[in-house]
């Protein structure tokens, strides 16, 4: 009996995956534990291991093809086995699904090529309902894939929400009514589609284009919209004197080779962790009816990628030294840039830092990265005059710090006290030891 191989959810937020590479050809023998193919998920490229043993009879989704979680990607069985019947049912539905552009309903036959030809300027998608991602085709959801309460399943079906797009807050990740209602709420609050832009004369090197939304881009869009629209953000800004921080860094790096030079971000992570330990309410998460105050400080740091961003997490920063943090950070950032992070390495930060100083940005505000309740936006260290003793201007290194807080968890004074302590530690690193 031939086995269907389905696209698996290889990350907690994955909805569809792209086959980056097939490691086996049709006709190859396959053992349990073999890596059949590599799948590009929303955040990383993951190995797809099979638990079955047999022969790879048919590849349904070729390299570069996309498949929603639960879609048929290949068939395994005994050599020469007749799989026509198995494929018949799947064919019409699934092949359409693999070739569809992201977000287009699979059941509708695509009236035109999904990707516009490059030389033909595409029309703005006027007839496409862009306000909400179109509902995913309803798949039978097996018990193994998802835990959900019967009521949540019924509600999701009624509201045409794909359960796989919802994170469960019940025991063992069970999706419950509250989660579906939140997803409904988030969907309803999504901003209306902007009016199609008026056609403008094309400038050199520019042209109208409709880009497909990648998995990564869609997840970023979903998570950040949900954060911005559900967490009431407020912002606190201070300018820290960074001379103390820079001196400390120089002193440490003086004894180390250029390759071992410890980054500014490692210092910022450590200092933030020390301040978070003093202000545990900033190291917390809003959970609807409860607030989780975390017993460990796990700091995510935003890393820009060519096609999006990812937030690798350095765990337990209170109990690690700056050098250890730096070593981990370098490894995480390296692997982030090569799409090699495992899902658990970029989820669950209790606090986030975003540093755009290398672009010369003086100050900015950031959107909170859930489940954390605050994010620190770090501006460029720059020389600035400040009034010194006797009113004479003195040159110092200034660094703007802007803290975005979720007011449901962190009240103004709490956020302010945290930021004050962080500022003091950056100015006088020894403060961190107090």
């Amino acid at each position: 009996m031939a086995d269907k191989l389905l696209m698996l959810a290889l990350s907690p937020t994955m909805e569809t995956g792209t086959i980056a590479k097939w490691n086996k050809k049709e006709g190859d023998p396959v053992k349990s534990g073999d890596v059949l193919c590599e799948v590009e998920t929303d955040k990383a490229t993951m190995d797809y291991e099979t638990s079955a043993t047999g022969t790879l009879l048919k590849i349904i989704v070729p390299e570069g093809g996309q498949a929603a979680v639960g879609d048929l990607i290949a068939v395994m069985g005994k050599p020469g086995e007749d799989i026509a019947a198995l494929l018949k049912g799947a064919d019409a539905r699934k092949t359409a699904a693999t070739e569809k552009s992201a977000g287009q309903p699979a059941q509708k036959p695509a009236p035109q090529p999904a990707t516009p030809a490059p030389d033909k300027p595409a029309r703005p998608p006027a007839q496409k309902p862009a306000a909400e991602p179109p509902p995913q085709p309803a798949h039978a959801i097996s018990r193994k894939e998802l835990k959900s309460s019967p009521l949540a399943r019924r509600l999701a079906e009624k509201m045409n929400i794909d359960l796989r797009s919802i994170a469960g807050s019940g025991p063992a990740g069970r999706i419950i009514k509250r989660d579906v209602e939140r997803a409904m709420h988030a969907g309803r609050k999504a901003p209306a589609a902007p009016a199609p832009p008026a056609p403008a004369p094309a400038a050199q090197g520019l042209r109208d284009e409709v880009l497909p939304v990648s998995n990564k881009r869609r997840i970023i869009a979903q998570r950040l919209s949900e954060s911005m629209y559900s967490a009431p953000h407020y912002y606190l800004k201070v300018t820290a004197c960074a001379d103390g921080l820079l001196e400390a860094r120089e002193a440490l790096n003086r004894s180390r080779g250029p390759a071992e030079s410890v980054s500014l971000n490692a210092f910022l992570i450590k200092f933030a962790a020390l301040a978070l330990a003093k202000h545990p309410m900033v190291n917390a998460s809003w959970q609807g009816d409860t607030i989780a105050r975390h017993g460990r400080v796990d700091i995510g740091i935003a890393v820009a990628l060519p096609d999006g961003l990812v937030t690798p997490v350095v765990r337990d920063c209170v109990n690690k030294g700056i050098i250890a943090i730096d070593r981990e950070l370098k490894d995480l950032v390296d692997r982030a840039r090569n799409n090699k992070l495992r899902p658990e390495e970029f989820t669950g930060a209790t606090f986030t830092i975003s540093n755009l100083g290398s672009f010369g940005i003086e100050e900015f505000t950031a959107i909170i990265n859930p489940p954390a309740a605050a994010i620190l936006a770090v501006g460029a260290a720059h020389r600035a005059f400040v009034p010194g003793p006797g009113g004479q201007p003195v040159a110092r290194t200034a660094m703007a710090l802007t803290l975005s807080c979720d007011h449901r968890v962190i009240d103004g004074a709490v956020g302010a006290a945290f930021l004050r302590d962080l500022k003091n530690t950056i100015g006088y690193p020894v403060e961190g030891l107090y």
Partner: protein, 326 residues
């Protein structure tokens, strides 16, 4: 509306039915000269005389059988068990004779008898005298079983039970006899087999019966302070069980907690949980929770005695569990 005790409500029901129908009589230990072990039959001997208020020896099996025989012969006996702990002596009469005769006579012989008395734990009584035995009776086809929790329901259900042509077990409660409540002066009946929503709510259904109702209503009021709106359904009858009223409530709230002061194994509470899980499967946001007595004989030590029974604390924990608030 007059406010009277549960004890007086039960007495009024018997008094009114005895006045209404000369075939109704009361039989049991200490029901006459002593006016009832819990003074439920106060004044009835004086009013109706020794032919209709009959003291018996301590012979539960015997006087239960007398009641069944009298019922078959055409009377409407009320058999009082001093407590349902003692009714175990008479289980053969109740289950094998009262419950089966209509069926085994091909529908020809009716047994319109009422077995009533206090059921469920009271205080400082020890294992043998402190147990909630509703399951034994609710288990058995051919019986009807009611467990009123308020003076109003006690009077209305007992009157319905006396008029019913089937054997009906009426479960009262020692600690409930002194509870007070509104009971209208004019005559009324409460139908057997109909539950009642005692408190409307939206977030969770709490189904219960008998003595735990009061604790449940108090807990629901306290939960309101925390922003949790609990709907409390009083089963009132255990057989036939009005599961439709419970299920209608669960379809609205999506969550169900059952409070039952008997043991949790094979109980009315666990039976109701299975019905709700079955009939409301697609409406449930969480598994049904059962708050029952601990699965142990009742301890004599008072702290343990209380700990063994359903409490507000355990009910709150169960409610928060089904609401995922823990």
């Amino acid at each position: 509306m007059p406010v009277i005790t549960y004890r007086d409500a039960v007495r009024q029901a018997m008094d009114e039915e005895m006045a209404r129908d000369a075939s109704v009589f009361l039989i049991g230990e200490e029901v006459g000269e002593y006016n009832g072990a819990y003074k439920v039959s106060q004044g009835l001997l004086e009013k109706y005389g020794p032919n209709r208020v009959i003291d018996t020896p301590i012979t539960e099996e015997g006087f239960a059988g007398v009641g069944i025989g009298a019922a078959i012969a055409g009377l409407r006996p009320i058999v009082e068990f001093m407590t349902f702990n003692f009714s175990l002596m008479a289980l053969d009469q109740v289950i094998n004779n009262a419950a089966k005769t209509l069926y085994m006579s091909g529908g020809k012989v009716r047994v319109p008898v009422v077995f009533r008395g206090p059921n469920g734990p009271a205080e400082y009584l020890g294992s043998q005298h402190s147990q909630a035995l509703q399951t034994f009776f609710a288990h058995c086809p051919g019986l009807k079983v009611v467990a009123p929790a308020t003076p109003y329901d006690a009077k209305g259900l007992l009157k319905s039970a006396i008029r019913d042509d089937n054997p009906v077990v009426v479960l009262e409660g020692e600690l409930m006899y002194a509870w007070k409540g509104d009971v209208p002066a004019e005559e009324y009946l409460v139908p057997i087999g109909v539950a009642e929503v005692k408190r409307p709510g939206n977030d969770v259904t709490i189904a219960t019966c008998s003595k735990p109702l009061r604790m449940t209503l108090e807990t629901a009021a306290a939960l309101e302070q925390e922003g949790i709106s609990a709907e409390v359904v009083d089963l009132r009858s255990l057989r036939p069980l009005d599961d439709e009223t419970v299920c209608a409530s669960v379809r609205k709230t999506g969550r169900c907690v059952i409070v039952d002061e008997s043991w949790p194994v094979c109980s009315v509470g666990s039976h109701l949980a299975s019905i709700v899980s079955n009939k409301c499967f697609d409406d449930l946001d969480a598994p049904v929770e059962l708050v029952a007595s601990e699965d142990v004989p009742m301890p004599y030590n008072h702290a343990l005695e209380l700990a063994a029974q359903p409490s507000a604390e355990r009910l709150v924990a169960a409610v928060k569990k089904v609401l995922y608030l823990q």
